[in-house]
């Protein structure tokens, strides 16, 4: 792994200093500084909310939430990078050389899926309930679909993924419903390489 890649295994322990010159991490660091309006060294919810395009994104609020896990009110640079690390493309040569004792990298398929799952699972009970699914669908589906139709779509969606018949989608069921999809490709952004 070359110097171009930011090393996320080390990062959580590393002090939130200025990254080395010439790395991709530096660009993220500059971005972090730019978002941090009062130069306070961390980002608050408001800092992210001011990004204009995020406000119109139907999932914007939830994605902002994912930067602030466990009710935190601030996110420092390692935390910031850790969230974004979910979207790094998967390197083929990475997987072969990986030490099995090390934890799974954040950009593995499972972790990418977990990230999405947490966007759905608002109450963090490990299941997407029908109500949660309805809320997501309401965000995604255009206004032209009526509430009743939305409900039936929700029912169908839950029913489709729900295998044990508990009326909710667990993480396992969630991954199963997406097993045919190329998540590694669809949930990656090239510039985060």
């Amino acid at each position: 792994r070359g110097p171009r890649h930011f090393n996320l295994e080390l990062l959580p322990d590393a002090p939130p200093g200025v990254p080395k010159e010439g790395t991709d991490l530096l660009r993220l660091y500059h971005r972090f500084r730019a978002l941090d309006r009062n130069k306070k060294g961390y980002l608050s919810r408001v800092d992210l909310q001011q990004i204009g395009a995020l406000a119109v994104n139907p999932l914007g609020e939830r994605i902002i939430d994912s930067f602030f896990p466990d009710g935190n009110l601030r996110v420092d640079f390692p935390g910031f990078v850790r969230v974004l690390a979910h979207f790094r493309p998967v390197d083929d040569d990475d997987s072969g050389m990986r030490d099995p004792k090390q934890p799974e990298p954040l950009n593995s398929r499972m972790n990418k899926l977990r990230f999405v799952f947490q966007l759905y699972d608002l109450d963090r009970d490990g299941k997407i309930s029908r109500h949660e699914m309805l809320q997501v669908l309401r965000l995604m589906v255009g206004v032209q679909v009526t509430e009743e139709q939305l409900e039936s779509i929700t029912d169908r969606t839950v029913q489709e993924a729900d295998e044990d018949g508990d009326g909710a989608v667990s993480f396992l069921e969630f991954t199963k419903s997406l097993e045919k999809m190329d998540i590694e490709q669809k949930m990656s952004i090239r510039i985060l390489k």
Binding site: A53, F87, G142, E148, Q149, S152, I153, K180, I191
Partner: protein, 898 residues
């Protein structure tokens, strides 16, 4: 378009055919016939179109013959077979006429044969995939084509300088560059013909195919620039001309794309207003796309690019605007035309090759060209891919590169361009023609034949089709939004960012402008997937359900006990009078037995299964309107029933029905009034039962809502005869009805309990079903059930009813007894009675009002409707269903005003 092309395609042929004509028409052009000829042979008048039609017919028949054997078509691509057939036919023509006829004329090719193919590929291009890979496609199309043209041309010139090309081939460097430019472009027709049968993975396909479409602009520019340079003579070319050449590349490509987008916009806008003239919708699509092609051609812009962009740009809006039928028509016509044109092109290509007068052979040139195009194509692909992979998320691996290099087929475009060369300016034209023919044949036949085994051997990732699921659709949308958001956070305005921007712009402005408001809904992809899944499920369910109906449905254990006259009427009574009973929905507290449940299931099964009997034929001779046919209506109903069933299965979870409680009820009553007459007007005979439940306020509310709904629904129907929206609306009604039924079963609260049998009735499962049926029937008045089916239905219905009337089971099981006292005053269901209230629909409303007892009709008619499918064939003797419907509407209006 095809018809229009007939005479023109025939024109070049017509002259040629005259030589044979005299042998076929003796006596027609000699001395004028003395009297009235009994029989006249007028070959000349029909010759041109006749020949065209014959050629197409021959090509189509050949296609049929090819496909008789699966083995042959699985091994050999159709395009190869067609070229070979063309060679044979050309040989025959040559042998018979002693000279080559019926060749591929460039004019015909560019004006008539090419546009349908390009339109087809542009229109059905998977746009998401296309734009996802746009960068790679553009690189290969622009850089790759330029690279191929210059390297091939220069290498051939080098070959000539080295003395490997015979000196009789008189060509300068510019000539070779010109030849290189026309031979270097990958041909969309050939690529499509071969790759459609190979089924490589989507990314690979879209890259090769997109390149073949977009490189047209480059080819056209290079060809024109080189051609004009050649005509000017290389000595006269100034430096400014080179600059102009480079500039024209941008003008031609961007101009072509702009023309296409303008026409796409016009097309989308026009289809927004075709609500009342659905029949011309497909025509508009073809006309405007063709206009785009011709306009671009006229302005010497890239016509292929124009049509591709037109198809790509308009599809989303046009598909949303035009009716379902028009969509099918567009699809089929486009595919037919494209396939037809493709067939003719390959066949004529084969025929053209036999004309030895046109070409001159030089082995050095031919072999050199073959080698160079393969070599430089491969080299170009490898170099470009290496650069592209630095930027691509998913790199293209070696196998992909091999397929892309090998898939660079040349085709009819190159041939047509080389035919267009001016022999006086390009002395080596004949050699070029021969070389082009060999190259085209080699790529189409040899590469086309071997690419399939190659793909298999290399284990190229094939395209895989799996059924779309709602989850996948939903999650894909989620992914898109997440990625766009992450790009926002990172502050990098990449592809996802711009796609998100575009989608918002499209949603806010473009779709509003270009889409009919009623068409807006089906645009939503999640809804669309849901809709299609439902249809599919419903059809498969009904396929099974039909079986159950025919076997078990008629052999219900409870068949012998078949008297439930009273119950049904009580049911009706309660439903009639109890429009205020929405309050009572909470009231009923009954434990349903297992048997009830089974009956309910059976009832719904019957509801679901009974879609089939439907009137098939409807005499319609209107040229301007196509009546909705059985299939579509069937789909619609299947959809409705499926929705209903689904809701039934979910009703246990539906406790939160209160928020729309006020809505379904008035609707339901509105329906009822529509069905019968205003039941507040009950006059003689039966007094209004349970008036206590129904205070005046509720009635007024009902009437209002009914009027509202009537106007609403009629408007919808008028506005959208195509039916999608109507389905959705009906669906929502069904939904509400379903909810009501759900509430019937899950909300226990003993407050006001109507007389016991009715109470029991009220919770019966088909109560809701009746309501639903009424809904269906009111929109579908033309149902006919065959007699045997009717008998089955009657039996099963009555058996169900008798089964499921818990408190009264004793009394009604004895058949043909007088109904139980409570129900004595009820009107009797129609299948037990000789009188048929249906003719009342034929009366003018005033007459009906005067002549009939309100309550009778109000109580009867819903049931009538429920059974109307069974009675349809009877009352068609009185009046056609349509008239029944219209009278119905009139009555309904009256009722509404009351």
């Amino acid at each position: 378009m095809l018809l229009a092309s007939l005479p023109l395609l025939g024109l070049p042929l017509a002259g040629a055919a005259t030589t044979e004509a005299p042998t076929q028409e003796p006596g027609s052009s000699g001395e004028p016939p003395p009297g009235l000829a009994l029989f006249r042979w007028q070959w000349h008048e029909v010759e041109a179109p006749y020949l065209v039609a014959l050629w197409i017919l021959v090509a189509s028949l050949a296609k049929i013959v090819f496909h008789l054997s699966r083995k042959v078509t699985s091994l050999v691509p159709e395009s190869c077979l067609l070229i070979l057939l063309g060679l044979v036919l050309g040989g025959i023509v040559l042998a018979v006429a002693k000279k080559a006829e019926y060749q591929l004329e460039p004019g015909t090719f560019f004006l008539f044969l090419l546009p349908p193919i390009v339109l087809d590929s542009g229109y059905f291009m998977p746009s998401r995939l296309f734009f996802d890979n746009l960068g790679a496609i553009l690189t290969y199309a622009v850089v790759g084509t330029l690279w191929n043209a210059f390297t091939t041309g220069a290498a051939l010139w080098g070959l000539q300088q080295a003395g490997l090309v015979a000196p009789r081939v008189q060509a300068s460097l510019l000539d070779f560059l010109l030849f290189g430019s026309l031979i270097s472009a990958v041909d969309p027709v050939a690529v499509l013909a071969v790759f459609e049968e190979v089924h490589v993975n989507d990314t690979l396909f879209i890259i090769v195919f997109g390149e073949s479409l977009l490189n047209d602009a480059v080819t056209v520019v290079l060809y024109k620039v080189c051609n004009s340079f050649v005509e000017m003579g290389s000595a006269n070319v100034q430096a400014a001309d080179y600059l102009k050449g480079v500039a024209s590349l941008f003008v031609v490509s961007l101009g072509g794309a702009a023309v296409g987008l303008v026409f796409a916009f016009l097309l989308a806008l026009t289809t927004r207003f075709t609500k009342r003239v659905r029949i011309i919708e497909p025509l508009l699509v073809f006309l405007l796309a063709y206009a785009a092609y011709l306009t671009a051609e006229m302005a010497s812009l890239s016509a292929i690019l124009a049509v591709t962009m037109c198809g790509l740009g308009c599809k989303k809006y046009v598909e949303a605007n035009i009716s379902h039928k028009s969509r099918t028509a567009v699809k089929y016509t486009m595919k037919t035309l494209a396939s037809c044109a493709e067939t003719v092109i390959f066949m004529l290509l084969g025929i053209s090759a036999v004309d030895s007068s046109k070409w001159a052979w030089d082995s050095g040139l031919v072999l050199g060209t073959l080698f160079f195009i393969l070599f430089f194509r491969a080299l170009g692909v490898v170099l470009q891919t290496w650069v592209l992979n630095q930027f691509r998320l998913v790199p293209l691996d070696k196998i992909d590169q091999v397929v892309m290099s090998y898939g660079g087929l040349r085709g009819a475009v190159a041939f047509a361009l080389v035919i267009l060369l001016d022999r006086t300016k390009v002395p080596a034209k004949d050699y070029f023609v021969a070389t082009t023919i060999v190259v085209v044949f080699f790529t189409v036949i040899v590469q086309g034949l071997t690419i399939k085994p190659l793909v298999k051997w290399l284990k190229v990732k094939r395209s895989e089709h799996h059924k779309p699921t709602l989850n996948q659709e939903l999650h894909e949308h989620t992914f898109d939004h997440i990625l766009a958001a992450v790009e926002d956070v990172v502050g990098h305005h990449g592809y996802h960012y711009w796609r998100d921007r575009w989608e918002q712009f499209d949603k806010k402005y473009l779709s509003q402008l270009l889409m009919r408001r009623s068409a807006y809904r089906i645009r939503d992809q999640i809804w669309d997937v849901y809709y299609r899944l439902n249809i599919r499920d419903a059809i498969s369910f009904v396929d099974q359900g039909g079986h159950v109906l025919s076997s078990t449905g008629l052999t219900l254990p409870s068949m012998p006990s078949r008297n439930s006259v009273a119950e049904t009427s009580v049911t009706n009574l309660l439903r009639e009078s109890g429009s205020g009973a929405c309050l009572d929905l909470q009231v009923i507290d009954t434990v349903r037995s297992v048997r009830d449940r089974e009956d309910a299931a059976m009832h719904h099964l019957l509801c679901g299964g009974l879609y089939k009997p439907r009137r098939r034929y409807k005499a319609s001779c209107s040229r301007h309107f196509i009546s909705e046919d059985a299939q579509e209506r069937q789909d619609k109903e299947i959809f409705q029933q499926n929705m209903k069933r689904r809701l039934e299965s979910f009703k246990s979870t539906k406790h939160n029905i209160c928020f729309n409680k006020s809505k379904p009820r008035p609707r339901k009553t509105g329906r009822k009034k529509k069905d019968g007459l205003a039941n507040t007007e009950a006059t003689n005979g039966k007094p209004l039962r349970d008036l206590g439940f129904q205070d005046t306020a509720a009635v007024i509310l009902t009437v209002e809502s009914e009027e509202e709904e009537e106007s609403d629904s009629s408007e919808t129907e008028k506005e959208d005869d195509e039916g999608i929206i109507f389905v959705a609306r009906a669906t929502s009604e069904v939904l509400q009805e379903g909810k009501v039924s759900g509430s019937l079963e899950v909300c226990p609260s003993p407050r006001i309990i109507p007389p016991s049998p009715t109470c029991a009735e009220k919770e019966l499962p088909w109560k809701s079903g009746q309501g639903d049926l009424a809904v269906y029937v009111s929109s579908e008045t033309t149902k006919i059930v065959p007699v045997d089916m009717q008998a089955g239905w009657n039996q099963s219905i009555s058996s169900l009813e008798s089964l499921a009337s818990p408190p009264c089971t004793q009394a009604p099981t004895m058949s043909r007894l007088p109904p139980c006292p409570l129900a004595a005053e009820e009107p009797q269901p129609p299948f037990d009675l000789p009188y048929d209230p249906r003719p009342s629909f034929a009366f003018p409303p005033s007459l009906a009002k005067a002549g009939r007892s309100r309550s009778e009709s109000s109580a009867d008619i819903p049931q009538q409707q429920e059974l109307q499918p069974l009675m349809g064939h009877e009352d068609r003797t009185h009046l056609s269903p349509r008239t029944a419907n219209s009278h119905w509407c009139i009555q309904f209006n009256k009722g509404g005003r009351l």
